[in-house]
Every structure is written in C-alpha cells, then in structure tokens.
Amino acid sequence: MSKQTPLHRAHVDAGARMVDFAGWEMPVNYGSQIEEHHAVRRRAGMFDVSHMLALDLDGADARKFLRAVLANDVAKLTVAGKALYSCMLTPSGGVIDDLIVYHFADDRYRLVVNAGTADKDLGWLRERIDRDAAAVDLTPRRDLAMIAVQGPEARRLCWQALPGSEEASGTLPPFHAADCDGVLIARTGYTGEDGFELSVPADRAEDLWRSLLDAGVAPCGLGARDTLRLEAGMNLYGQDMDEDTSPLDAGLAWTIDFKDENRHFIGREPLEQAGARRRMLGLVLEDKGVLRTHMKVATEHGDGITTSGSFSPTLQKAIAFARLPLAVAPDERVTVDIRGRMAEARTVKLPFVRNGQCLI
C-alpha cells in the first residue's frame, strides 16, 4: 500500500496519472508531460515534493555533527536561512544520499532528503549521533508538505497566491530561505529555473496548492520533473550516483569541500586517495532515437555508460548524462548502443539548459 501526500486529493481532482514512486503514490503527469515541462521553462509549474523528507537537527552539537557527516561544509552557512547542497557519504566514499541543508542557527538546521533514502538516512544519522554521543535532536517533519513552484513567473505567482509572501521573500537571494507565517519559502529548485520551494503545514497544503492553481501555476508531475532536472544537469540519486559511486566520478566534485584540512568528514580519506577516475559529461544524440539509462558509450578513450537519459523537450533531441573515461572532453564524437543499434552522439558540458536558455 503506497503512502499518500497531503495533496493526494488535489492530484486526483486534477486528473493526474498516479504511479508508485519510492513507496509513495505520486502524479507522473496530468496530461502531457511535455506541456508541463514547457510550462516550467516558459511560465510557471508546481510539483508536489512532499514525499521528500524534511529532517530538523537541533542541539549544541548540530554544526559540528553536520561538518562531520556531510561532504560539503556547513561552516559556509553563516546567514540564517542560507542553504547548501551536499552529499552524505559512506566511510568508503560512496553516496548515501544527496540533500539540501538549511541553516537557521548554529544549533538549528534542516535537511531535505530523498524519499527513497529517507529511512536509510534517518537510521544512519541516528547511528552517528549515538556513536558520537552528539547533543543533536533529530526530528522528521512528516507534518509538513512541500510544493516546488518553478519557472520564470514562479515567484511572482507565489506572491500573488500567498498573502504576505512578497514582503517575506521579495529580496531573497538564490539558495536562501525565509519564513512567512509558518510557510518556509526557499529560493531553491530542481529544474534550472528560478522559483521557490515552499514547506507548509500539511493541513494548509491543499489550500495553498489551489491558490497557486488559481494564480495560473500549472500542476506538473514526476515525468516533467525528470526531464527538467536532466536538462538542468542535476543528478538523480539512485540513477546518477549511489553508495557504489564516488561523487568525484559523478560530476559532484564541486560539492565536496576539502578546504579545511582539519575537517575529517566521513568518506574524505578514500576520496582523497582515489581521486576522480571517471568524468561525467552530457551527451546529445545526433541520430534518431532516445537515450536511456545504462546504455554503453564507445569513445576514443575507452567505454563509458549513460546514467540518465531521455528526450529533451527544450532541445527536441535525446540527451543523457554519461560516466566516461577521464580523457574524454566536451565536443567529442561518441557512439551509443541503443538496444543493438549504434547511434552517433556528441559530448557536451553540463547543463544543457539554464533559465530557459539552451547552453549547448
């Protein structure tokens, strides 16, 4: 039996096609996922992301604990509401999960973690807190719903739909969050567009969703969410990286902070020893067809593999992420095995699309 988010009824009312995703009954689309994709690139769309888990960490050791358990360094977060993207690593340097951490105070943080890894993450964090006897309280916030509103018009339409929110978030820079009468407004997202992610008490979620609908925000499902994040060059946990993947091989080196040599975060040593062994690049298919995950890529420097792939509604071409030999550079010709057919593709730097603009 799949779990349902507080917005389940709103999805069914909107005619959503529901699927199981990580144990949650979620909308995959409300009609055409390509139209939903375009709505986000051109105007504004919204996603129910309540299946993701918000986890509050409170206590005197919260900062110290997160500096050890996260590969990015929360010491960078000095302003209340500032957010940071980070991986959480295994002792051998694999990726347990990727997440966003919000800093409210040095003894008060929030993590937002993936749905499919939420239980594992919770278990791991509890184990580490116990082992270190850290003064940290861990509170899963299943009392919150989360709505991501994304697109060039997203902020304006949020301000229209949520009274008082413009005052609270009008000058909020990217990757910062602010409270508005119990709703946390974060200028973050997973689409490559401007917008907000709203954390709202579950009993207010449906009203907020309907106000956003009335303001003209298009409901969008997991299908569009996947093609948007792919165009934006953003990794998907379980597909582009996992516990058997080094973040350095998955295009996530920019999220690993080695600067403070006295910060012995979990997984640091094996990463420093091994270094990067693979390189993640984008692929654009020049032939007909669609790229998918786990397709073999032949290059001049050896073989690689696609980790995510789909059809890009913005580029009108198939695109993919590929894990390739380190020597492969952008703008090289490669060959992809599409179910036995050898197809021509070109390597590109990520992302493919940012703020509505094609970058390749």
């Binding site: 096609r17 055409s32 390509i34 299908g223 007909k288 067809g289 998918r292 789909s310 059809f311």
Partner: protein, 128 residues
C-alpha cells in the same frame, strides 16, 4: 476510460488491427497504450518487404518515459509503414486509431481468429 472501437481487432500487447477489403491488415497501438506510454517522441517502423512472424518485435515506439516494442499480430509480410506518423509521432497520442503504424499482408493460414475482439480487449485492460 480508454476508447476501444467495436470494429477493430486487438492483441494482448495493445496493438489494434483493421482488416481491409483487400485482405491487408492495418496495425496501430490502442488508446490505452498511448495513454500508458505518455508523450510519444520517436517511432522506428519496419521496412516494406520484411517477413514477420506473429509476436515478432517489428517496430519501436519511444515516449519520453520509455521505449516499447510493437509486435506483429500475425505471420505475414510488411507492405507499408506510416511515414507521416514517423514525422509527427505526437499524432499517435492525439488519435491512436487515426494514426496507423504499418500494414501487413497475412501469410496463408495466419491465425486471425486468435486476435481479440473489442469486448475481449476491454476485459484484458480492465484486469491490468
């Protein structure tokens, strides 16, 4: 509820089949199939002249979501494929029964009776 026209035949693998007066079979995918696939972005259709057996994967349909094979409903020879659908695959989403994929001349003794009628196909998709 998906449309299932009464005058067509069907397969369990979600192809529809229309028998024309000259004995040629016209094949497409059902409305149920297009809805399940989502936005279709690419079609790879068989060349005329290809000999196929019932159940052979003869065409590929790619939606944003996934790639799916299309199967020959009976033994026979491919005689035509729909170039218009290849150029505008989204038309299959818009009208699955108005946009055929390929035509096939059934072989002698091809098992046309094994195909489902509309009621049989409706029962099939009601179960899934």
């Amino acid at each position: 509820m998906s449309k299932v026209p009464a005058d067509l035949k069907y397969t369990k693998s979600h192809e529809w089949i229309r028998s024309d007066a000259d004995g040629i079979l016209t094949v497409g995918i059902t409305d149920h199939a297009q809805a399940a696939l989502g936005d279709i972005v690419f079609l790879e259709l068989p060349e005329a002249g290809r000999q196929v057996a019932a159940g052979d994967a003869v065409a590929v349909i790619e939606s944003v979501k996934a790639a799916s094979d299309i199967y020959a409903p009976v033994d026979g020879e491919i005689v035509d494929s729909n170039a218009d659908a290849v150029d505008a695959p989204e038309q299959v989403n818009a009208d699955a029964y108005g946009n055929w994929l390929f035509k096939l001349r059934p072989a002698e003794g091809a098992e046309l009776d094994a195909l489902l009628d509309a009621a049989g196909y409706e029962a099939e998709i009601a179960e899934s």
